[in-house]
Amino acid sequence: MSRFAMVIDTHRCVGCQDCVVACKTENNVPEGYTRDWIAEEVHGEFPTLHLELRSERCNHCSNPPCVACCPTGASHVHPLGGVVLVSHDLCIGCKACLAACPYDARFIHPDGYADKCTFCIHRVERGLDPACVSVCPAHCMHFGDLDDPRSEVSRLLASRNHHALLPEAGTNPNIFYLT
């Protein structure tokens, strides 16, 4: 088996949004929508501040509520890496998954189906990194298989402090942020 994950180094990230633009061109995401975005989290009072910039997207959860709630089976887990995908032809655009996703990762594509990050599975199948990972000028994003202890993502998680988003939601997210 394989479990795909992204490990993102918030120390290196400059929040430039190249990941957002690259996703839009690679996947032809329609104007007005994005599958990934940058979150800016500030703590403290000027001038003693902590800023975390995070490239965020669908967490490809191991326990995905969007799949559980889908009435048609359109939202599903792909056998390759456990990637969470939507079958456009099965999707009826009911938005149950939009409501179920605690990360607000989904939107309804103008063509009527729920859309979101696919981990660029069409690239991954060909041995490439997802577009966002491959363009990042800060080299802050890493993609790989957590079931392989020798993978770069496994090694990074073993050696660095990290967190994931909303662990309390019980979704078992697969995007990790190095801090």
């Binding site: 180094d9 120390h11 290196r12 400059v14 929040g15 430039c16 949004q17 190249d18 957002v20 633009v21 690259a22 839009k24 061109t25 690679e26 996947n27 032809n28 995401v29 329609p30 104007e31 007005g32 994005t34 975005w37 940058i38 979150a39 500030v42 403290g44 009072e45 000027f46 001038p47 501040l49 902590h50 800023l51 799949v67 048609t72 089976g73 359109a74 599903h76 887990v77 792909h78 056998p79 390759l80 995908l85 079958s87 456009h88 032809d89 099965l90 594509h109 103008p110 063509d111 696919t118 069409h122 690239r123 199948e125 577009a131 491959s134 363009v135 990042c136 000028p137 800060a138 080299h139």
Partner: protein, 732 residues
């Protein structure tokens, strides 16, 4: 920063479900339907070229799918991009698809500034232009035709203009951007830091950034090296009134009072000299006038600097010691846009001198010595000798300017002195937004017999033009090649990826055809651009075929550090690093920088600061549909407690009124802890007033509209622009 802007338009997603091929063992039933169509290699074409979304000129590879431009990625062979573009470069696709781009030549059909034009053929437009230029030549002399240019694309137009007899060709990138820095480093080391800057961030162990927002300012190679420096734990010191992205990576963040950076720099030097922390061997070997310099910084103690800068003396000492600890691998970054307060060359000279004390010029982790590959220029016939010199040569007002000063050309246009300027050619720079004080620019335009704009979009300056010539975007044209001066020397080629969609033409074609119309065809011995490029490359001993295929040809890298044998040469009068500048003393300026307190502005006002965002370049990318989708308007950064006092919250729209009563467009407030309470900040380039820029018109506010005042740098004529103050008015 999650974007929720823009109107969704129906564009068919390319991700389509196709027949299942990897379905065996599917975990979920519907996985059978889940195999996504991978882009077929059939129908895919990749073309190497170099980017034009900014002046960095990264090597790129564009992918065309079924005849349609799909994406642009970095060229792994390119030493600048190292295979990764910045967000603008990645979004370069949008420059081709920009719905608002210029499509056909236009002649003005109403009064200037009304944006009323008549579409015409290239022949009609160029005939008209040539007749106007001939009239200026006859009535005033060719020197009265001036030009403003930005970027490498201006090469051929400049050649035509010089053949015609023009001598005043200014780049706003000098007097409105990098000029103070380049002048200061030339005065100190005899050479400037260049573009791309010769900063060895990759190897710096201590990096000092003064208002230089790496990461928000996406100078690609520098950002990559900066992230590497952060990744390997380099010590980073940031002085900035704003808690920039760079500040968030810093070991020391110094929230310096705006306009007092020079005080901080002098105090740092005071500590390094008085504690004898400088590189004595380096200073002894290469320095000139160190004694006078050392005496001159004695009064500038950290205690003196504290009330000026707001930075505690202990912090000043600790950071100075930190710099000394890592020298010579301590890089005090000179920044790029350096026209801030009018004393900018002296501030930049202090940066140069601090680097000199640390021994970082010519050293690993400091400033390397760049080189380029030898590609001879095209053997053009000599251009005519001008009968009158350039304006810059006729005035001693700014003695250390070594390039034409855009604002001086503007002034001469208004006054007619020392001779009239009657024509402007403007290439790829939006003068209305790039020069300070828009009223002065418009007053100058009213004096002109001819304003011609060559550009890809109908910018504000195009709105004032008599002739607008639509250039094809970089993805649709050849351009001058780029034998870059860099750490690793290389040559880059720009070549068309897709055809221009309408009646746009490449600048080389426009320049050559205009020369023919002016009877200057003999200055263009080459017929096609291929012939020109091949001629130059062959003369240098390189293969055009190879360059076309790879986009990049790399050369051998000579030693780049003094310690490895790079020549330690300083092209200054003393042939040394000038701690004390006799040139400056002789011209009546401070030979060692001195501090003067900046004007604090009227009470109750905030100082207006402006800067960059990673997804836009100047005021030239706001109609790019990909980039505007990510950032469609700018926002006003205001300290959270100040916002509370004004009863404002993030997301409220406000207007700014400056000290001269100028009112801005509505702009969205960002109430944030990330800025001092005495200033506000916005990203430059928004608040477009050109109606022809339909998708950007009126979105956000324009800093340029509020920059009515500027302070001239007495050394080189730069226009310090952070000298404007605003109040905030509620409501749209």
């Amino acid at each position: 920063m999650r974007t929720d802007s823009g109107n969704p338009v129906s564009r068919r997603s390319f991700l389509k479900i196709s027949a299942a091929t990897i379905a065996a063992g599917a975990a979920a039933g519907s996985a059978l339907h889940a195999v996504y169509e991978t882009p077929r290699e059939k129908g895919i074409r990749r073309v190497p070229t170099y980017c034009d979304l900014c002046f960095w000129k990264c090597g790129a590879i564009a992918t065309v799918r079924d005849g349609r431009l799909w994406k642009i990625e970095g060229n792994p062979l390119d030493p600048l991009s190292r295979g990764r573009l910045c967000p603008r470069g990645t979004g370069g696709v949008g420059a081709h698809f920009d719905p608002d781009r210029l499509r056909t030549p236009l002649l003005r059909a109403s009064e200037r500034g009304r944006e009323v034009w008549r579409p015409v053929s290239w022949e009609e437009a160029l005939d008209f232009l040539a007749s106007k230029m001939r009239a200026i030549q006859t009535n005033y002399g060719p020197e009265s035709m001036a030009a403003f240019v930005h970027g490498i694309g201006g090469t051929f137009l400049k050649h035509t203009l010089k053949a015609y007899g023009a001598v005043n060709i200014a780049a706003p990138s000098f007097a409105q951007c990098r000029g103070p820095r380049d002048t200061a480093f030339r005065l100190t080391f005899g050479d400037d830091v260049g573009s791309p800057e010769r900063t060895d961030i990759e190897n710096a162990q201590c990096l000092v950034l003064i208002g230089s927002h790496l990461g928000e300012n996406m100078h690609n190679t520098q950002v990559q090296e900066f992230a590497n420096a952060v990744g390997r734990g380099a010590s980073i010191i940031v002085a900035d009134p704003r808690f920039s992205v760079a500040a968030s990576k810093a070991k020391f963040y110094l929230p310096v009072k705006p306009g007092t950076d020079l005080a901080l720099l002098l105090a740092w030097m005071n500590v390094i000299v008085s504690e004898k922390l400088y590189d004595k061997e380096y200073v002894g070997k290469y320095g000139f006038g160190f004694e006078q310099f050392a005496a001159s910084v004695v009064p500038y103690t950290p205690e003196w600097a504290y009330p000026e800068t707001g930075i505690e003396p202990e912090t000043i000492r600790a950071t100075a010691r930190e710099m000394a600890r890592y020298r010579p691998a301590t890089l005090v970054h000179p920044g790029r846009h350096s026209n801030w307060y009018g004393d900018d060359t002296q501030r930049e000279r202090a940066i140069a001198l601090l680097n000199a004390l640390l021994g970082s010029w010519g050293r690993k982790g400091g400033f390397y010595i760049p080189s380029s590959m030898d590609v001879p220029g095209y053997p053009y016939p000599a251009v005519p000798k001008p009968s009158r010199p350039a304006l810059r040569a006729m005035s001693n007002k700014f003695p250390f300017a070594n390039e034409d000063i855009s604002t001086s050309v503007r002034e001469a246009t208004i006054t007619g002195q020392p001779y009239p300027i009657k024509g402007w050619m403007v290439y790829a720079t939006n003068l209305i937004n790039s020069l300070p004080n828009q009223d002065e620019t418009i007053r100058a335009i009213r004096q002109l017999d001819l304003l011609v704009v060559v550009d890809v979009i109908p910018s504000e300056i195009a709105g004032w033009a008599d002739v607008v010539l639509p250039e094809s975007v970089y993805l649709e044209r050849h351009d001058e090649m780029n034998p870059e001066l860099f750490k690793q020397p290389f040559i880059a080629l720009r070549q068309p990826v897709v055809p221009a969609p309408d009646n746009q033409k490449p600048n080389w074609w426009i320049a050559r055809r205009l020369a023919e119309k002016l009877g200057l065809g003999a200055y263009y011995p080459w017929k096609t651009i291929d012939e020109y490029l091949e001629h130059r490359l062959t003369a240098g001993g390189y293969s055009y075929e190879q360059l076309k295929k790879q986009g990049i040809i790399r050369g051998k890298q000579p030693p780049i550090y003094f310690d490895d044998g790079a020549p330690a040469q300083f092209d200054t009068p003393s042939k040394k690093i000038e701690f004390y500048s006799t040139q400056l003393a002789q011209a009546g300026f401070d030979p060692v920088p001195k501090y003067t307190r900046p004007d604090p502005g009227p009470p109750g006002y905030y100082r207006l600061l402006f800067g960059r965002a990673p997804v836009h370049s100047f005021s030239r990318t706001q109609t790019n549909p990909l980039l505007s989708d990510v950032m469609s308007e700018n926002s006003l950064w205001l300290n959270a407690r100040e916002a509370q006092k004004l009863d404002l919250k993030s997301g409220d729209y406000v207007r700014l009124r400056n000290q001269d009563g100028k009112l801005s467009n509505p702009i969205k407030l960002k109430a944030t802890e990330r800025i001092r309470p005495d200033c506000v900040f916005m990203v430059h380039g928004f608040g477009h007033t050109s109606k022809a820029l339909r998708s950007a018109y009126g979105k956000g506010a324009s800093d340029a509209g509020l920059i009515t005042r500027y302070k001239n740098d007495p050394l080189m004529g730069g226009t310090g622009m952070n000298v404007n103050f605003v109040t905030i008015e509620k409501g749209a």
